[in-house]
Amino acid sequence: MTFVSQHVPAVRRTADRRAPLKTLLDREAVFSWLLMALPLLFLASLVGYPFVYGLLLSLQDRPVAQTGTFVGFQNFVVNFHDPVFWQVAVNTFIYTGVATLLKMVGGLCLAVAMNQHFRMKNLVRALLLLPFIVPTVLSTVAWMWMLDPAFSVVNRLLVAFGWPKPGPSWLGDPTLAMISIIIINTWRGLPFYGITLLAGLQTVPPELYEAATIDGAGGWQRFRFVTLPLLRPIILIVTLFSIIFTFADFQLVYVLTHGGPQNATNLFATYAFDIAMGAGQLGLGASVALAMLPALAVLIVALTIYMRRN
């Protein structure tokens, strides 16, 4: 008895002390924020910090290994008057626009084709992912050989069919060079579209197709009125990602053409890198990289609003 009477108050005291903490944790707002804290910290340090640092850099005249001086929007003014900057902007929009469209249409066709039943379906689906899996630098080097007139399989075929030797200069002609990088980007990005849309296709309930067929819908109508509306949210998400990836593409151009010939394939990312790392002008380089932001932001907001509405 003595034993109990001595210890119970102690236990009660501890419980009383813990109670506020416990109730605090029980409150959903507190607990959810607590769970969010780590990811938020993670985001702030790995995304927020570099972003804010980039913003600050773009407002400075900051040669590498020297202290920067604040210059306001001068770097952006310099870019505004730089003809190559505008050429790079046009290049980036053309590259992103055409490549994304090709990937979207091609990816959809690929997904529909892969959704059919045929022999070794799984193997073919796995192989499709190869261009996406192979490191970009490696596959780009392979393309470099394929686009070299002396070794190009395409040129050899064309020459065999009577094209004057040595055939088209894929990377020497400004238009052909842009077409080449768009083709390679499409080749590399198609599987991402294809496989993601395939996953979407498989969630479409077969009953809907049956119902449509009973109502007399043909193949195209089934695709147009059943498949497409149901796939739309996925198409939008994939497009969003694809635009972001393509807009900021670097490796492919850096390895294949380094922005040449005469800046015909120079994109925001490669131009910013050359200025920041090649010329050692970190501030000016950051301002070129940040020029991508408004366009991307408008696009992302527009797509998000559109998706929410639907």
């Binding site: 290994a65 040595p166 020497g172 053409t257 040449g260 005469q262 090649g278």
Partner: protein
């Protein structure tokens, strides 16, 4: 009871004392060890000539450690990554004590480098004096921010057998003569191949010398006034256009630095502009091509003969904790005994910028490399006659001069390409 308690308390106190002392010893030991054996980290870009790097690792570093007890840690970065690596070291203030510099790094990182004028001047005095090109590459605002090491020249590489087919036994003296030969060779399906795309070196390697040899320049000697819009530049551009059209493969407009080497080994081109590496590689991998590969100085234009300075030098970071040790190491490294051994293993791939090596035995190993020595007297940094500056680095990184020529070759009128280059250069030299 009391006695036992006291003794246990004493032993606890003793234990704590011992543990603290032990920890202190353990913690302080590495520091002591570090103080006794210092390390100099020596950053270098991986060399095309393997024995060159091995010589430091296996001969120079061990010899220096034996002599002084100081360890030299030779850190190799991959080709092309040196500027990024130096940026990281300079920005963070740690990671290396001595570094190799490529073409433009001395200007870019000069503020983080020690003035090594005392060492450089002593080395010059002792070994026949420096080439002017050596000084041009390392002097920042009149101070030696690096010790010149060598040039990796960019010269003409030509196929003797095909040149002979059109009756040419020695390399043409002028650009115009070369053009005439090129026309004949292209007609025989042996075109020329000079890079006009966005590589790192093989484009600048011939385009700046071409511009200079016609009397053109991008900026005046004051380093401020943009002077690209001149009749001399126009003549150089006009020459480049016909030279491209009548002698070359159209694909050169999209070439990067690997392309001309690839085309050479595939026997596609009869003349190009490259470093000694093309002959090295041909001799090793394609001996038949190696036999018919010769090298020559750049042709002359109306205003003379020029070459691009593609120099290598060594600097000491001002924030290095072993600055003084690094100075002593550089002094030792630049002594004839060490230096000549190091040059020798690379034969003449690295062309010394000290006159004492003008007749060194290594030049007898491959006489076809002699033009690289003779070109040193007329070699300049891009942007010459202006002193090297951050603006010059920006102009090079933006390919202003390369693209001026390339656009003309692709068909844009001379006036327009010069005007757009001028607009770009004025933007770049805005704050000079």
């Amino acid at each position: 009871m009391t006695k036992r308690a006291t003794s246990s308390a004493t032993s606890r106190r003793r234990f704590l004392k011992l543990a603290t002392a032990g920890t202190a010893v353990v913690l302080s030991k590495p520091q002591l060890a570090r103080a006794q054996s210092k390390t100099i980290t020596f950053l270098h870009e991986s060399s095309f000539i393997k024995p060159f790097d091995e010589y430091v690792q296996n001969v120079l570093a061990p010899a220096y450690q034996k002599q002084t007890g100081i360890k030299v840690n030779y850190e190799i970065t991959s080709v092309g990554s040196l500027p990024t690596r130096i940026s990281t070291v300079a920005e963070t203030g740690s990671g290396a004590d001595v570094t190799m510099n490529g073409l433009l790094q001395v200007i870019q990182f000069g503020e983080k480098y020690l003035d090594v004028g005392d060492i450089a001047e002593d080395v010059g005095k002792a070994q026949g004096g420096w080439y002017d090109a050596g000084k041009e590459a390392v002097l920042v605002n009149g101070k030696w921010k690096a010790i010149p090491f060598s040039n990796i020249g960019q010269l003409m590489n030509w196929r003797t057998d095909w040149f002979q087919e059109v009756g040419v036994k020695t390399f043409p003296e002028t650009w115009e003569e070369l053009y005439e030969v090129g026309k004949k060779l292209k007609a025989k399906d042996h075109p020329f191949g000079f890079e006009l795309g966005h590589g790192f070196g093989d484009n600048h390697g011939w385009l700046y010398p071409l511009l200079w040899s016609y009397g053109g320049a991008e900026v005046a000697a004051d380093g401020k006034t943009v002077v690209i819009d001149s009749d001399e530049t126009a003549r150089a551009v006009d020459f480049a256009r016909k030279f491209f059209k009548d002698t070359m493969l159209p694909d050169v407009l999209g070439w990067t630095d690997v392309s001309n080497n690839k085309a050479w080994m595939a026997e596609q081109i009869s003349c190009t502009n490259n470093a000694e590496s093309i002959l090295w590689f041909a001799k090793r991998e394609f001996p038949e091509i190696g036999k018919v590969t010769a090298q020559a100085m750049n042709p002359a234009g109306p205003k003379g003969r020029f070459h691009l300075l593609n120099s290598i030098s060594h600097s000491i970071f001002s924030f290095s904790p072993v600055r003084e040790e690094a100075r002593a190491f550089m002094r030792w490294l630049m002594e004839p005994q060490q230096l000549s051994g190091w040059y020798d293993v690379a034969e003449t791939y690295y062309q010394p910028l000290l006159h004492a090596y003008d007749n060194a035995p290594m030049w007898n190993i491959e006489p076809r490399n002699l033009p690289y020595r003779d070109a040193l007297g007329s070699a300049h940094l891009p942007g010459w006659p202006a002193p090297a500056s951050r603006h010059l680095a920006e102009s090079v990184a933006k390919y202003v001069v390369v693209d001026m020529f390339a656009k003309a070759c692709a068909g844009t009128p001379t006036k327009d390409v010069i005007k757009s280059a001028e607009a770009q250069l004025k933007g770049i030299y805005r704050s000079a």
